[in-house]
Structures are given as C-alpha cells and as structure tokens.
C-alpha cells in the first residue's frame, strides 16, 4: 500500500515525531511504500541539523536522515512554515528538502492513506 505521512509537531517537545518515525519505519519493514513524509507547522523543526541532544538521548533529525538514506525516501519540509520558524536550506539535515505546500496535496492525491501525527 502507498502511505503518506504528515507531521505537525516539533522534536522533543511532543512525541508526534517519534511516533511518526516508528510508524514509517514499521510500514517500510512490512514492505509498504511511503511516498512522502511531509513536515508542516512546528513539524518543520525536526529537520534541523543544528540540534544537539544529550548523549544518552535520541537524535531526532539523524534518525530521520538515516531512515531516508536506507529507503531513499522523499522528505518535504513546508517552505512557508519553515521560514516562520527559522528553518532554511542552510540548517536542514541530509535527506530533507524544502518544498511547497502543494506537495502535501500531491501526496494526499497519490497515496492510499495519509497518516497524520500531531495537531
């Protein structure tokens, strides 16, 4: 099945990004396609490579980047939401790209299911 994933909350403050990550990973491990992971609202902050969590904590951006590399996933960070929150091409980690909100509509059209995390 073709999934889309939408994330609306930032890293660490809410569990949404962790939940979305585990869901996406589980879907891929079961052989499903994940057409796109779209980062909207505070969700855009998950993409910053400037985060430096404590050594015994997970590194949310790197987890996402590693998953992207392993499965060659499409990660889109909404440009309008990102600009408001100080996220731009210079700070996003590997595997993320900044793109228009239309790319969320596209995945809603193409994917069988869009699963939303946070709001």
């Amino acid at each position: 099945m073709k999934f889309g994933v939408l994330i609306l909350e930032g890293p660490y403050q809410h569990e949404s990004s962790d939940s979305a990550y585990h869901f996406t990973k589980a879907a891929l491990e079961k052989g499903h396609e994940v057409l796109r992971v779209f980062f909207y609202q505070d969700g855009v902050i998950n993409s910053t490579k400037l985060m430096e969590p404590q050594a015994d904590d997970r590194h949310i951006q790197r987890q996402w980047s590693e998953l992207q590399e392993k499965y060659d996933l499409d990660y889109v960070v909404c440009v309008a939401a990102a600009k408001r929150r100080g996220i731009n091409d210079d700070v996003i980690g590997p595997g993320f790209k900044i793109g228009g909100l239309g790319m969320l509509t596209e995945v809603a059209i193409e994917a069988d299911r869009v699963v939303q995390f946070g709001a």
């Binding site: 949404s16 585990h22 869901f23 990973k25 589980a26 879907a27 869009v114 995390f117 709001a119």
Partner: protein
C-alpha cells in the same frame, strides 16, 4: 475508518469528539498519552467501556510499556505494536484527533 487518539482524556476533549463523530463499528487506536484512557479502575473506565460497546479499541504496546501501565488495561482492549498499527492503517482510512 480508524480514529487515532494521542491525548489523555483527563486533559483533552479529543475522546469526546471521537465518541460524537465516529461511525459505529469504526476502530479506535489509543497511542502516546491517549493510552491513559484505557486504565482499569480509573475514572474514565466507564466511558471507555461504553465506547467499546460501539468500537474496537486498540492500544499501542510501545506507549503502554513506556508509561508502565501495560498490566493496567481494561479487559477487552486489544494491544498492537507499531506493525499492528500499520496493519490497522492499511485496513482503514485514518483520521487523527489530537
């Protein structure tokens, strides 16, 4: 349609919305802080049991374990892990209440 709930029923009105708008027979998945809705012996127990009369209620194992409440679930609630969450999302359209 699968209804996803990630907030505690003691802090948020999400579950009231699901109860109001969810079609009879639609499954509900409690995850993140949503799992607190299914604790036996708690104030919400009678509400969740009533909801279970109309809906299958699932809870996410990983979130139960994290909160130390895996052995406190109301009878009849079904545990799924993330792989089971994916299966539910494959079988149903999903809508998120948070």
């Amino acid at each position: 349609m699968l209804h996803l709930v990630n907030k505690s029923p003691y802090e948020s009105a999400c579950m009231d919305s699901v109860d109001k708008y969810a079609h009879k027979g639609s499954p509900i998945l409690l995850f993140e802080d949503g799992v607190y809705a299914a604790i036996a012996g708690a104030a919400f127990e009678s509400r969740i049991k009533k909801i279970m009369g109309d809906h299958e209620v699932y809870v996410l194992k990983e979130d139960l374990a994290a909160r130390g409440i895996a052995d406190r679930m109301v009878d009849g609630v079904k545990e799924v892990d993330y792989a089971g969450f994916v299966d539910l999302a494959e079988q149903n359209k999903t809508v998120s209440w948070s």
